[in-house]
Amino acid sequence: MSQDHDQKTITVSVRVWRQAQGEKGGRFVEYEVADTPLEASFLEMLDILNESLVEKGEDPIAFESDCREGICGTCCLVVDGLPHGPSQCTTCQLQMRNFEPEAKITIEPFSTGAFPVIKDLIVDRSSLDRVIQAGGYITVHSGPKPEPNSVPIEHEIMEDALDASACIGCGACVAACPNGSASLFTSAKIHHLALLPQGQPERNTRVKKMVEAMDDEGFGSCRNYAECQASCPKGISIKYIGRMNSDYIKATVLDTDRRGSMHAT
């Protein structure tokens, strides 16, 4: 055990949610991962566990990850009841040195109404894509475009747009929300595009369509718990939700176009 080595490894036991494909429910299975290097990341600990399962001839735990540097948004584990685990970062950036020796760790999928489980710890988050499909873009074709410096954009506006567009689409905001709402995700994209001059022509239709898509995909509604903000690995602020709401009001109730004149409804 860990005493045989120096202080550089720990032994942890993990309780992992296992759910076969096509089945409604699942169960927890407990595994011990002995001698995990303290320098290892959390997912590397799972790699070590999976390698030992394969060696024993068992089916390894299905979980997703890709870039393992916190930017692609693929990894999505609920660790000890918290989406992405105890630190405010993606699961792949979680390090084993953050855990106590002999820790018992519970690992579950990001499963909500709009994120059904596919297998074990893998969920289907394509609902987020469909929210973007509804209008999370600026309609331009490839080809010659105007000189970008012809429209100056304030430094602060750009920084704000970058704060919003830092979203990696991991879905932690949905998994953390007691209502399974995608408001933070949706509002961040709406806000990013609404801040920029290029985003103005489609601003009203965009917010209306994306808000409707959020409902169509079965996400819950925002109750302003702010759990999403606390779980977002990119620190995206709930202020964008407020701005999405006010944009939505402008687009539906006031229904003004950019010149300020009202549309007949």
Binding site: N179, V211, S221, Y225, A226, E227, K239, G242
Partner: protein
């Protein structure tokens, strides 16, 4: 109407309706609390205030009409608020995480208790109207006068001499306090009025108003229970000011007493 039905078709629009109806009730509750403080000016002041409410707009609309309009607006607001919230809750229960997810403690107790406080407040509203407006349910301490339509101060006095009635009211006011604390801030967020640079101010104002509501509303039952306020029989001006007449008997307003 088209816009309202359009709003009603999305959850963000529904939230907007919850916020707007909440804002209407918020305004009412603040006014109600301020009106209640008239009790400290004496029994007749409170009863006169209640009568005055009936007379708003009298010149155009006739006695009590404005009050009825206000009541209808409030009743519609309550109904829309509650039904919309119920629908949102149904959506949310389908959408919520299927595994138990821990909170990161970012949300306040007030936020977590919105459903509990809201349900209790709804029950409270029914009890409160039945007790002081309609007079269907009128517990009162022995030795006090029973319920008399229009005798606002005396009705209150009779009820709040009972410790459990006073306790019920104070407890419910705590619920109101919590509900409007999160509700007021949440309303600003839903209406898109919130921003990080004014978040602290909005939260602070919401908290200050919520506490003021609790203190203001609790002051009457507590001071009546502890006899630290005038007893209705001490006040001779009460009867000479006016006799409650039949036409206004059922309209002992929520503003004044219910």
């Amino acid at each position: 109407m088209k816009k309202i039905s359009q709003l009603y078709s999305t959850s963000v629009g529904k939230k907007l309706l919850v916020a707007v109806t909440g804002a209407i009730m918020y305004g009412f509750v603040v006014g109600h609390m301020l009106g209640n403080l008239k009790a400290f000016a004496g029994p007749s002041a409170l009863d006169q205030y209640a009568e005055m409410l009936r007379q708003i707009g009298q010149a155009f609309l006739g006695n009590g009409t404005f009050l009825w309009i206000a009541r209808i607006v409030l009743i519609v607001a309550v109904i829309v608020h509650v039904i919309t919230v119920i629908q949102l809750v149904q959506r949310n229960s389908r959408a919520k995480p299927t595994r138990t997810v821990r909170r990161r403690n970012a949300s306040t107790l007030a936020a977590k208790w919105m459903a509990i406080s809201g349900t209790l407040i709804l029950i409270f509203i029914v009890v409160h109207i039945a007790q002081f407006t309609l007079g269907w349910f009128t517990p009162h301490a022995a030795g006090t006068e029973g319920f008399v339509h229009g005798a606002v101060y005396s009705n209150l006095w009779g009820a709040f001499q009972l410790w459990w009635v006073a306790l019920f009211y104070v407890a419910m006011m705590a619920m109101v306090c919590m509900h409007v604390y999160h509700g007021a801030w949440s309303m600003c967020q839903t209406l898109g009025l919130d921003a990080p640079d004014r978040n602290a101010a909005i939260r602070g104002a919401a908290a200050a108003i919520a506490i003021a509501l609790f203190v203001g509303f609790s002051a009457v039952p507590i001071s009546m229970l502890t006899n630290s306020i005038q007893s209705p029989t001490d006040d001779s001006s009460m009867t000479e000011a006016f006799e409650p007449d039949g036409s206004s008997e059922s309209s002992r307003s929520k503003e004044g007493a219910g």
